[in-house]
């Protein structure tokens, strides 16, 4: 088959471009360590989130030294908790699920962005910087009032975080607390 030499040059450059693109993405994964939302949590029953001790009472909880987990429920048309208060200069894992339809969870102007699909738990681990505030929006159409679905994230100094959440960050009390508090 006859291919013009210029077109061969172009083909080689095209292959080079593809390698550059795949290479960049791979670098992002191994260098800065960007990791994808994936299948690391078992599925949940979206109609029975009150039986799941993470989502019965959506909250932010300390799980290790300077490590926190934020359990967030997306619903038509909001997020719980709101605001989501997280400590500055810490590692925070968002675990987000939906109790109704498919939503999005986008921290506006940042890379924290995920689909929220009923039955699945999306996990995103980020490292926070200094105190600031972010908007959170649903970026997947979820019904008639989709455009009103928003929340805020407040990144507060560590000491302020501890005083604001008080006892509820201690892992012991939460399971007890949510069963009675959430339903009644």
């Amino acid at each position: 088959m006859h291919v013009h030499s210029y077109e061969k040059i172009w083909l080689a450059l095209g292959l080079g471009l593809i390698l550059l693109l795949i290479g960049s993405v791979t670098y992002g994964a191994v260098g800065p360590g960007v990791s994808m939302v994936a299948a690391d949590q078992p599925t949940v029953d979206p109609t029975a989130l009150d039986e799941d001790d993470r989502f019965a009472e959506p909250r932010v909880e300390q799980v290790g030294e300077n490590e926190y987990e934020a359990y967030v429920v997306a619903y038509q048309f909001g997020f719980e908790p709101d605001p989501i208060v997280i400590p500055a200069n810490s590692t925070v894992t968002f675990m987000v699920t939906s109790r109704d339809v498919t939503h999005g969870f986008e921290v506006v102007g940042t890379n924290a962005n995920t689909m929220v699909i009923p039955g699945e738990v999306s996990t995103l681990t980020v490292e926070t910087g200094g105190p600031t505030e972010y908007g959170v929006i649903c970026n997947e159409y979820c019904g008639a009032a989709h455009h009103g679905m928003e929340a805020t994230i407040e990144v507060v100094p560590q000491d302020e975080f501890e005083s604001s959440t008080g006892g509820s960050t201690d892992s012991g009390g939460s399971t007890d607390g949510d069963g009675s508090g959430g339903d009644q």
Binding site: M1, H2, V3, H4, Y6, E7, W10, L11, G14, L17, I18, L21, I22, V25, G28, A29, V34, M36, V37, A38, A39, Q41, P42, T43, V44, D45, P46, T47, A48, E51, Q76, D100, V101, T102, G104, E106, V108, G109, N111, N113, T114, M115, V116, I117, P118, G119, E120, S122, G135, V136, N139, E140, Y141, G143, A144, A145, H147, E150, A151, T152
Partner: protein, 629 residues
């Protein structure tokens, strides 16, 4: 072998005499099969009527879709909000379905019918069968359209505000899914019609190469069968029975994955008729010749192989799908850049040949000698230029982890308004100025209006799409009636959110004006009387099919490999999704998108009571396991 052997011998002398208009091409190698005397209408009047009907169907959808487009543009940017923000989603659903399913696919079946019959130089086997598939497509799309438009009124209990992706558990009326299924069957029969006609031609011409245009039609059709199989499974086995209440739940991740199994190749389905026109019509309009027939075939084979096993790149940020599957999908997607990059070279070189033959000189000076006053030429060239820009945002969309930056932001519609909204739509409009006289014997009412129209489309889209990309980088979401929020302000880069809104609104208004000009021109053209002497010819390639290895024409082989690649890319993810969440999902409810609150109450009250009873019983019985796998 006689015909093939005679091809190289005859091509060169022919070319020497007549590089632009080919005198005779008896071998039917696809590029000069039509004799210079007579238009398509003269030669195949029955087929011409079918092509005309499909185009009119496409233009009707275009008229509705673009009208909704301008309403959305002005609503979203806050310039004018005469309708409620709830109705916005009805407009958005209709805009998507009418433009990306109805407009594109009706035009596609017209172009393909024309290209196949023209390049085989043979009528369709049975035009009654052709009218049958046309009828099915029209009825199906009408049903789906009615369920969407009924969303504007609460008088009828129909609605489908589910957008064109219809992600469960948002639930549309059964007629929405049913109409889609009927439409799909119509397109399948259209493909069958083309294949039957090809096979009849093959019996009459056992030794000839498949003409290039027919080759493009056949490979694209196979791609369509592969791609739509998943949509059919999703609609017929899950969504339709679910909307009828026959099954209680579906697995949202599964139906979503099946949608995108279909949803990515469908973009190539829109694009392939544009490619067909760029490869076979554009060089002739430019006075050039296709640079390489073999590479055109290679490109279509690559699309057949690679356009389906990539759909998971729409799900990079989905939970429940392992990172490895996403990476595989990304590498496949990146290699899909190749056929488009090759196309850019081949098509531009074909046009450059025309410019050089016209006496064009210099490294870039030859561009000046091209027929820029011809709306068909200018429209297709501008469409190609926009596709090059869309190639950039497409690369970004394909990059797995960079998806965090732009996923579900308005960057994404910014991208596909360059690709389907310009590369495809503008090519279709430009091609109409060339094709319409061929299929009706009526000259275009005004080529000047046509020229203004294609330039306006380009300008409007440049403005609108650029601003959409920029807003996307600020984090503004797609698919929302009111992108301004109470809790935060967008960043100020690229001129800031409000200034970009103004650009979007101006761009959208220009686009709408362009659409009105196009449609008026078509309507006025229909009022012209039929004349003679409108016949256009398609020039011979410089490097013809005789240079293409025979194996390229083995469509059965490529189809087989395509299916294999799809199985490799999808079998494991789909099994994993079903293992995780079950065939019918980990539970949950349906959310019918009926706007009338009263009917929601009436519809859902029994379910709600049942659910409450269920819960109460469970509570008394000591809790239940729920849907844990």
């Amino acid at each position: 072998m006689t015909a093939t052997a005679d091809a190289p011998a005859t091509t060169s002398p022919d070319a020497t005499n007549e590089p632009v208009t080919n005198e005779d091409d008896p071998d039917g190698d696809g590029d000069g099969a039509a004799t210079p005397e007579g238009t398509f209408y003269d030669r195949f009047p029955a087929e011409a009527r079918i092509v005309r009907a499909t185009f009119l169907g496409a233009f009707l959808a275009f008229a509705i879709g673009t009208t909704f487009g301008i309403i959305q543009t002005l609503h979203r940017t806050g310039i004018a909000r005469p309708f409620s923000s709830v109705d916005y989603y009805t407009f958005l659903t209709a805009h998507g379905v009418f433009l990306v399913l109805s407009f594109t696919i009706f035009f596609l079946v017209g172009v393909f019918t024309w290209a196949l019959v023209r390049s085989l130089d043979r009528p369709l086997v049975n035009t009654r069968f052709s009218w049958a598939w046309y009828g099915l497509m029209a009825v199906g799309m009408t049903l789906t359209g009615i369920t969407i438009l009924a969303g504007f009124t609460s008088a009828v209990d129909l609605s489908a505000d589910v957008l064109f992706t219809f992600y469960a558990p948002l639930q549309a009326h059964p007629l929405f899914y049913g109409g889609l299924a009927v439409f799909l069957v119509g397109t399948w029969l259209a493909g069958l019609d083309w294949w039957r006609t090809y096979l009849a031609w093959r019996r009459e011409n056992p030794d000839e190469r498949i003409p290039l245009q027919t080759f493009m039609v056949l490979t694209t059709t196979i791609m369509w069968y592969v791609a739509t199989s998943a949509l059919a499974i999703s609609v017929l086995f899950f969504l339709l029975p679910w909307s009828l209440g026959l099954i209680e739940t579906v697995n949202p991740t599964l139906t979503r994955t099946l949608f995108w199994f279909f949803g990515h190749p469908v973009v190539y389905f829109w694009l392939m008729p544009a490619y067909l026109l760029w490869y076979t019509v554009l060089p002739s309009i430019a006075g050039g010749r296709l640079f390489s027939d073999p590479l055109a075939r290679v490109v279509f084979v690559l699309f057949l192989l690679l356009s389906t096993p990539v759909g998971i790149h729409h799900q990079y940020l989905d939970p429940g799908i392992a990172e490895g599957f996403k990476f595989v999908s990304m590498t496949n997607t990146m290699f899909l850049l190749l056929p488009s990059l090759l196309t850019a070279f081949t098509v531009v070189a074909s046009v450059e040949y025309g410019a050089r033959v016209r006496g064009g000189t210099g490294l870039f000076g030859w561009l000046r000698t091209l027929p820029w006053r011809d709306p068909a030429f200018t429209g297709m060239m501008l469409a190609g230029l926009m596709f090059a820009a869309g190639g950039y945002s497409g690369m970004v969309n394909a990059g797995m982890n960079i998806n965090y930056l732009i996923h579900n932001t308005i960057w994404v519609p910014g991208h596909f308004h360059l690709t389907v909204g310009t590369a495809v739509a503008l090519t279709f409009m430009a091609a109409t100025y060339w094709l319409w006289p061929q299929i009706t014997n009526k000259p275009i009412y005004s080529k000047q209006i046509g020229l203004a129209q294609v330039v306006l489309w380009f300008a409007g889209m440049a403005l609108m799409s650029n601003a959409m990309h920029a807003q996307g980088l600020l984090g503004a979401p797609r698919r929302t009636a009111e992108p301004e929020y109470a809790g935060f302000e967008y960043g100020t880069a690229f001129g800031g959110f409000q200034e970009l809104n103004v650009q979007i609104a101006i761009g959208g208004t220009i686009l709408f004006a362009s659409a009105v000009l196009f449609l008026s021109n078509v309507v006025l053209t229909m009022g012209n009387s039929r004349t003679d002497g409108l016949a256009e010819t398609i020039s011979e390639p410089i490097s013809g099919p005789e240079d293409a290895p025979l194996v390229l024409d083995n469509i059965r082989l490529w189809g087989g490999i395509a299916v294999l690649l799809v199985l490799l890319a999808y079998a494991l993810p789909i099994v994993a999704i079903i293992q995780r969440g079950g065939l019918f999902g980990p539970g949950g409810e349906a959310f019918p998108m009926v706007l009338d609150a009263l009917s929601i109450l009436v519809d859902r009250a029994p379910d709600a009571i049942a659910l409450l009873t269920d819960r109460a019983v469970d509570a008394l019985g000591g809790g239940r396991l729920g849907g844990w796998p």
